[in-house]
Every structure is written in C-alpha cells, then in structure tokens.
C-alpha cells in the first residue's frame, strides 16, 4: 500500500528520480522488521507503510537538498577562487544566481514549507527511523 501511495504521489517525477526515491523506499521496506525490533515496538504493517512513505519523502528532500547544496557551494567556491565566471554544462547554466540555481532555491524552500505544514519535516530530514517508528507507534 505505502509503496503504491508513494508511487502515486511522485508520479510526476522523471523516471530516473522516481526510481531513486522508490528504490530507497523499497530498501527501507525490507529493513522495516529490524527497525521495529531496534525500536522495541511490535511490528505493524500500517506503521511500516507510513514509515516507507516517509522514507520516500526523505529521499525526495535529499535529492533536492543535495543538488541545491552542490550548485550553491561550487558557485560560492568558484567565486572566491576567481570571480566573474558563469558555469556552463552543455546548454545548461549552472551558475550561482542563474535560473537553475534559483529554481532549486524555490523548490527546496517550498518542499521544506510543505513538510513543515504537515509537521513531518523532522521525519524527512534527520530523525533516525527507530525514533520515527516509536513516534508513529505513539500516535503521531
């Protein structure tokens, strides 16, 4: 169920990114019984499904975040090194402050905002899965 819910939620993603999200979520699904054991919580399919859905969101956020960080940091370091360059990959402009960089900033901010709205940002960002299972078992 949860993989299906996740798959439906990310149906607009390009195939390459969608596979990154789904394969990460599937690996979490396989590891779920062990995570429940480590959390000291009896295994529940319903909670495991929610956990797998959260794992997919975590991967989605990490894709956006890491791409933003790479472009932003490389741009800043290059500015410090020489200054005044634009960075081009094929036809794409990857310069800091360029369209792609700006789009990454917007998408990242909006995704963080969306996850915060549902009070699951911490789940998608940093909380260990063992702790997420405990919180979900306690009715979150």
């Amino acid at each position: 169920m949860s993989i299906r819910a996740l798959s439906d939620a990310i149906s607009e993603l390009p195939y390459g990114l969608s596979e990154q999200v789904l394969s990460y979520a599937r690996s979490l699904d396989v590891a779920a019984p062990e995570i429940f054991e480590d959390a000291g919580v009896p295994f529940s399919r319903e909670i495991a499904d929610t956990l797998v859905f959260i794992a997919g969101l975590r991967k989605l956020l990490s894709i956006v975040d890491s791409n933003y960080r790479v472009i932003d940091n490389v741009g800043a370091i290059l500015e410090n090194q020489q200054g005044g360059f634009s960075v081009r990959v094929g036809k794409a402009d990857l310069s800091r402050g360029g369209d792609y960089h700006q789009a990454l900033v917007t998408v990242r901010n909006e995704l963080v905002e969306l996850l915060s709205e549902y009070q699951i940002l911490q789940f998608a960002q940093s909380l260990p899965y063992v702790d997420i299972v405990r919180e979900l078992a306690n009715g979150r």
């Binding site: 939620a9 607009e12 790479v70 360059f85």
Partner: protein, 230 residues
C-alpha cells in the same frame, strides 16, 4: 499522520515544479562531477598550490564543464595547480590509458603532468592521456557507499593506478601532497562498508573515500575546514 493528505500535496507540488525536476534529473550527475573537480582543487589550495582556471579560448569568461567522453579537451575548462615552480593540470572526464593493456578509461577528474592533454586543436586526433602522465584521479557517485561500490572502485584503481593497491607510491607523491585516488559520494556509509574502508589501512590500500561529499563541500564553503578530504 495523514498520509493521503501529504500524498495529494506532494503530487501537486511535483506537478507545479515539473520543469525543475526534469532539470535536476538531467543535471544531477554533471553537477556532481563539477563538485568533485572543485573539491580536489580546494585540497590543492589547502596545500599551498595556486589554482588557475583555464577556460577555452573561445569562451574565456565561461567555466565550461566537460561531462562526457565526447568533445575535444581544448573546448573545455581545465585547471592548473602550481607550487614552487611545479605545475599539474586537472581535467574533467579525462580519457586515460590502462596501466596494463590497450584499454582506455574515462575518469571523472584526472590530475596530470603538465602539457600532456592538448589545450588547442591538434592535427592528429587526440585519444587519451598516457597512463604514466596521470598522477591521480577522482570518481564521484550519487549513491550511498555500499560494499560493492567499494569493490568496483578498487577494480578501477587496479586497472588505472594499481600501485596504490599493491606497490609503492610514485616518487614525490606524498612530498607534493597529492591525493590518493578518490571515491566521492553523496551518501553515507551503508552496511559494513565503513569497516571495509577501515581495513584498507592494514592492507596498504591507498584510496580515499569521501562520503557525504556535498556536506564536506559546505564545510569548506563555510570555512569550517579548508580541505574536503580531511
């Protein structure tokens, strides 16, 4: 947690930003290759090398990233690293000869002796750098570091610079503060892969695994550290 409400919102969000996600899909690997190039240059800067960015003659104000095996090297940016009169060059997606046979490989970043990769059009087609001209290299993956990835990278090192697996370091390698072959990754160590890397020391395998590379770059940018490989 209301999964179906989140599901609906995520779907709307992804629809709204469809073009950006298409761009991420297309730029992800390229951006990473650029990142490892910049990361390596920060290592050399931290060791006292001056870095010169050499852009193609026809676009001197544009840092042109080479992201595939195709294209002439003189149409792309390369870097020069200079310290005490010694100069090396850094090239992206560099074709290089095997250490063993007639094989040729493309490394994401290659550090070479100066002048062995043409910086202007040649009459005879240029194919690959000679193995003896390659000093070290770096590969980057958008993956977690898992055991088979490490095994694959060791295989690459074995084909290109086997001295770092069994043999001595090239003369002056440590004195000139070169990096051992680098595997940079966006992910962290998974499974028991950190144990495998710990074991390399006792096996005298000299490679450098830089997990969480995006976070390492952020620390360099924030001046919390000067070298992303430390």
């Amino acid at each position: 947690m209301d999964v179906s409400a989140v599901q609906k919102s995520i779907k709307q969000f992804l629809k709204k930003h469809k073009h950006t996600f298409l761009a991420i899909n297309s730029n992800q690997s390229k951006a990473l290759e650029l990142a490892v190039t910049i990361g390596v240059s920060e290592h050399y800067r931290s060791k006292g090398y001056a870095i010169h960015v050499v852009n193609p003659k026809k676009s001197p104000k544009i840092f042109v990233v080479k992201t595939s095996t195709r294209g002439h090297p003189w149409n792309f940016t390369h870097l020069k690293f200079e310290r005490d009169g010694v100069v090396y060059e850094g090239h992206m997606n560099l074709m290089v000869e095997s250490a063993h046979d007639e094989g040729r490989y493309c490394v994401d970043f290659g550090l070479t002796k100066v002048g062995c990769v043409p910086d202007k059009a040649t009459k005879k087609a240029w194919v690959a750098a000679k193995n003896c001209d390659l000093v070290t290299f770096a590969e980057v993956k958008k993956l977690v570091v898992y055991p088979m990835l490490l095994a694959q990278f060791l295989g690459i090192v074995h084909e290109i610079k086997p001295c770092f697996i069994h043999g001595k370091n090239p003369m002056g390698f440590v004195r000139e503060d070169h990096l051992f072959p680098v595997l940079a990754s966006l992910g962290n160590f998974s499974g028991n892969s950190s144990k495998i890397v710990e074991g390399y020391k006792s096996r005298n395998i000299r490679i450098l695994v830089a997990e969480n590379f995006d976070i390492r770059l952020a620390r360099v940018r924030g001046k919390q550290q000067s070298n992303p490989f430390v």
